[in-house]
Amino acid sequence: MPAVSMTVNGKAVKGDVEERTLLVQFLREDLRLTGTHVGCDTSQCGACVVHIDGIAVKSCTTLALQCEGANITTIEGLADPNGPLHPMQEAFREHHGLQCGYCTPGMIMAALDIVRRKGHDLDEKTIREQLDGNICRCTGYHNIVKAIAAGAKAMGRGGPARQAAE
């Protein structure tokens, strides 16, 4: 089996994978980073969103071998385990932007990408349109939208959590 090496949440990792192994399988099964979820098989639900070199990507539609040498961030790597939460994580909690929690890691990773592309001052319409690639069945999105707006603002103000994550 071919070898692959990449950096995941700041740590150099390598593994031998079948060619068809998806990034999400490598993360979940080889690295046991089970915060990244799989909710569909057609790239619709977004539960599997991670960052590859800073950009949100659906890890269910990415081969592990495509990530040779890449820098991957998953939900587990967003904040120092011993430090404060990332402002976007905190915003989801504060605004009750999650219920069952299954779509949440993907939502948070996608939200950060919205901030990267659209900035810190996000209106409701922008957030709703930009969330097209993520499905939540529990919340009706009402509180996710509020959380993302608040999280984006908090990131704009900066903070220790943000610096830790970046």
């Binding site: 079948e18 068809r20 979940r28 046991r32 980073l33 089970t34 915060g35 990244t36 979820h37 799989v38 909710g39 569909c40 098989d41 057609t42 619709q44 639900c45 539960a47 998953t74 939900i75 587990e76 967003l78 904040a79 385990p81 939460l85 994580q89 989801f92 909690r93 504060e94 009750h96 999650l98 219920q99 069952c100 929690g101 299954y102 779509c103 949440t104 890691p105 948070i108 409701e124 957030i127 709703r128 349109e129 969330l131 097209d132 993520n134 499905i135 939540c136 069945r137 529990c138 919340t139 009706g140 999105y141 009402h142 509180n143 996710i144 939208v145």
Partner: protein, 788 residues
């Protein structure tokens, strides 16, 4: 109100693990040397299995076993069952067909499992599954519930594919009332078939312990104890005391994870056969094909009114599609969870409802968020709205004219409503929605080429499921009480074990709020344990908005016992009579003195027992209770939907949503609002977007998230939420339940709004742009004539 007590919007305990990726869902559980199960499923809706050749698959790399229905039957593994007996009008019992976990002889829907491959990896399992050669003789199929009587017979036990022909109410009295009516409103309604689509797919991981001859199942269940009971007592995999079921974090359920499914049975059976753990996780395609779907009713309904718009009677005839097999609670959904709510919020003297449940070559249909009550609400609220329009009455006025105003109120369809104030929720909703300003907004929309409409839904539901004697008399095979155990540790911290199961509802937070307030201890010192049959003795799980009303009532009862015993301990400590001990804010005081003991001291003394050693009082501080409710609860409210329909394309956008609900006592308003949001989204999804479509050959056309339109963020508005409160007199906390309200209320509100906007009633769900545009075109000639 304390910052963490009843009524406080406490942030959730469970969130930390979910927002940091530390949740533990079934597929996250790792067991040593686990194998993967991959199912071979029927591509045909209806076919005889002529032969299954597993030899090529068995030789594939990594394959440990390939098992078929014949192997399952050979091991005498029993069938899955439906646990609610319904009798037809003629007194005959429902026709429950055998449902083996792997099909034997015949397949009855696309996705019916015929074999399973157990392999080292999922990829190897998939490769091998492709090599299982199944020879089918394809039979004609029927997927339309209205065409089953003349369709091919699916099960020998059910002639004309009829499961039961059931009725509720006094037909003669209803017919007499209709004969007296000044106005009759008639509607043909389809309650569209839905796929629940919890974002976590179903999963099962089974492990066999040869040393103890016992099995453990991790699964995505809303009720692990019921799963254990059914798998033990009916399927016969293992005796109850040799089977542990753990439902860890579960990623949404909405009903679909109540039921006992073939895959968990097969994983358990296979794990014992191959002596290694067996894991299966559905891909989304399997979820679409095999999760129990929801709704799927075809109904004709009529409402009789007098000249003043006062309702005299209601009658309805429904065909309910239960799919290819009877799922766990499927029979109860279109009967006792449906026809019993046909009175809505109204004083309707006579109601008669007939329901024919039928088999089709489609996935099984069972409870989905609301379960029967959304279907009933859709019938009642569409009838009332259309009656108002036909009679030239204001839709709010006709509702007020017919509201039940005194309680208790016995409806003609079993339910005895205990408390409510329907005028109050309607009034508050109309204010929040600014109904007065609607006409101005409508004119403004018209200037932009948009048709604006307003729709009401004043819904009611029966929750707090359920009084055991009542449901037992109606055919339920189980009691629907709930259990709780409160364990006080020597240090005063508390563990609450509940038979409910949280899969998004936030019980770890709300249940802790109750205990914190009641015992006067910090919220952080309470943890809630659920979802493991080895920890919690028994429980009925979470569905039917029951966890607050029934589950928390059980905790209240256990806390009563804890307080009583703690007072005894405190009496020994404080050398006072037990009757003189008062307990308040976490402190035990001898009445009229300054002698007191703190909660933690009493907890410690309960365990060290130095003060009462050798006395009648036992050491320890742990109490259990089983709470059986005395009645259902009746959450109710008013949702108002405002839409704008594009006159050119028919696309309907929801521009305002107002929900005012009466849930009785609210423990955590933040969580309650979240439940309402989610329910509304699912109801809007049903009304505007979602619909499971089978073609005439029984192929699921909407079998992926690319074909089945789930609500996305941009499909929905933000919601205006309000509450009114009349406490339920039927449980100690006055809770009614909030989990299903939105899904129950929303579809009627949306369709009432769209039909108001476009001026024709013939709009079926989902009201896509195409559907609405077609309705507008068909209505146009008549409107032109009317205009001329």
């Amino acid at each position: 109100m304390s910052a963490t007590g009843i009524g406080a919007a406490v942030r959730r305990k469970e969130d930390i693990r979910f927002i940091t990726g530390k949740g533990q869902y079934t597929d996250d559980v790792v067991r040593p040397s686990a194998t993967r199960a991959v199912f071979v499923r029927s591509p045909h809706a209806h076919a005889k299995i002529k032969s299954i050749d597993t030899s090529a698959a068995a030789k594939m790399p990594g394959v440990i076993a390939v098992l078929t229905g014949a192997d399952l039957a050979g091991d005498k593994i029993g069938n899955l069952i439906c646990g609610w007996m319904i009798h037809s009008k003629d007194g005959s019992p429902m026709k429950m067909a055998p449902h083996p976990a792997l099909a034997s002889g015949k397949v009855n829907y696309v996705g019916d499992a015929v074999a399973v491959v157990i392999a080292e990896t999922q990829a190897q399992g998939r490769d091998a599954a492709d090599k299982v050669a199944v020879e089918y003789e394809v039979l004609p199929a029927v997927s339309d519930p209205a065409k089953t009587k003349s369709g091919p017979q699916i099960h020998d036990v059910a002639p004309k594919n009829t499961i039961y022909e059931w009725s509720l109410g006094d037909q003669k009295a209803v017919d007499a009332a209709f004969a007296q009516a000044k106005h009759v409103t008639k509607l043909d309604l389809i309650n569209n078939r839905l796929v629940p689509n919890a974002i976590e797919p179903r999963a099962a991981l089974a492990e066999y312990d040869a040393g103890n001859d016992s099995l453990t199942l991790w699964n995505t269940s809303q009720n692990p104890h019921v799963a254990r009971l059914v798998i033990s007592a009916f399927v016969g995999i293992a005796p109850e005391h040799k089977l542990r079921v753990i439902a860890p974090d579960v990623g949404g359920g909405f009903g679909s994870k109540i039921f006992i499914y073939p895959e968990e049975v097969v994983c358990l059976w296979a794990a014992r056969k191959v002596r290694r753990p067996v894991k299966w996780t559905a891909d989304r395609g399997e979820s679409f094909l095999t999760d129990a779907h929801g709704r799927d009713h075809v109904t004709h309904a009529e409402l009789a009114l007098d000249g003043d718009g006062k309702i005299l009677a209601l009658r309805a005839k429904t065909i309910a599609n239960l799919g290819a097999y009877m799922s766990t609670f499927s029979s109860s959904v279109p009967t006792y969870l449906y026809a019993t709510l046909m009175s809505g919020q109204y004083n309707i003297p006579q109601i008669y409802c007939e329901v024919d449940a039928v088999y089709t070559n489609t996935a099984p249909v069972d409870a989905y968020r609301g379960a029967g009550r959304p279907e009933a609400t859709f019938v009642v609220e569409r009838l009332v709205e259309v009656a108002a329009r036909e009679m030239g009455l204001d839709p709010a006025d006709i509702r007020k004219r017919n509201f039940i105003k005194s309680f208790p109120h016995q409806t003609p369809v079993i339910m005895a409503y205990d408390a409510g104030d329907y005028n109050a929720s309607l009034k508050k909703a109309m204010e929040l929605a600014d109904v007065k300003g609607f006409n101005k907004r409508k004119r403004e929309s018209a200037r932009r080429g948009k048709l604006r409409g307003l729709g009401y839904s004043t819904y009611i539901e029966a929750c707090g499921i359920a009084p055991s004697q009542a449901v037992g008399s109606l055919g339920a095979g189980v009691g629907l009480w709930e259990s709780a155990e409160v364990r006080v540790n020597p240090t005063g911290t508390v563990e609450v074990l509940t038979g409910c199961h949280a899969h998004g509802q936030g019980h770890e937070t709300t249940f802790a709020q109750l205990v914190s307030e009641r015992l006067g201890i910090p919220f952080e010192n309470v943890s809630v344990v659920h979802g493991d049959t080895d920890k919690v003795q028994f429980g009925m799980g979470t569905y039917g908005s029951r966890s607050g009303a029934v589950g928390m009532s059980a905790i209240v009862k256990a806390l009563d016992k804890i307080e009583a015993k703690a007072k005894k301990v405190a009496a020994y400590m404080l050398e006072a009579a037990e009757g003189d001990i008062e307990f308040k804010d976490g402190k035990f005081t001898v009445a009229g003195t300054d002698k007191s003991a703190a909660w933690g001291e009493v907890a410690l003394n309960a365990y060290i027992a130095h003060k009462f050693s050798g006395q009648e009082l036992e050491p320890g501080l742990k109490e259990t209770s089983f709470y059986d409710p005395t009645n259902f609860t009746f959450p109710a409210g008013c949702h108002i939907c405002e839409v704008e329909v594009d006159a050119e394309t028919g696309k309907a956008d929801i521009v305002n949503w107002t929900a005012v609900d009466d849930f009785g006592t609210v423990i955590n308003p933040m969580i309650v609002e979240g439940q309402v949001h989610g329910g509304i989204a699912q109801g809007i999804g049903q009304a505007l977007l979602e619909g499971a479509v089978y073609d005439k050959n029984g192929q699921l056309v909407t079998g992926s998230l690319m074909d089945y339109a789930m609500p996305h963020a941009h499909d929905l508005p933000s919601f205006k939420i309000g509450l009114t409160e009349t406490k339920s007199p039927s449980n100690p906390l006055g809770i009614k339940g909030c989990g299903e309200a939105g899904a129950i209320a929303a579809p009627a509100a949306v369709i009432n709004a769209i039909t108001d906007a476009i001026g024709t009633e013939q709009v079926v769900m989902p009201a896509t742009a195409n559907t609405v545009w077609m309705a507008m075109q068909q209505a146009q000639p008549a409107q032109r004539v009317a205009a001329e």
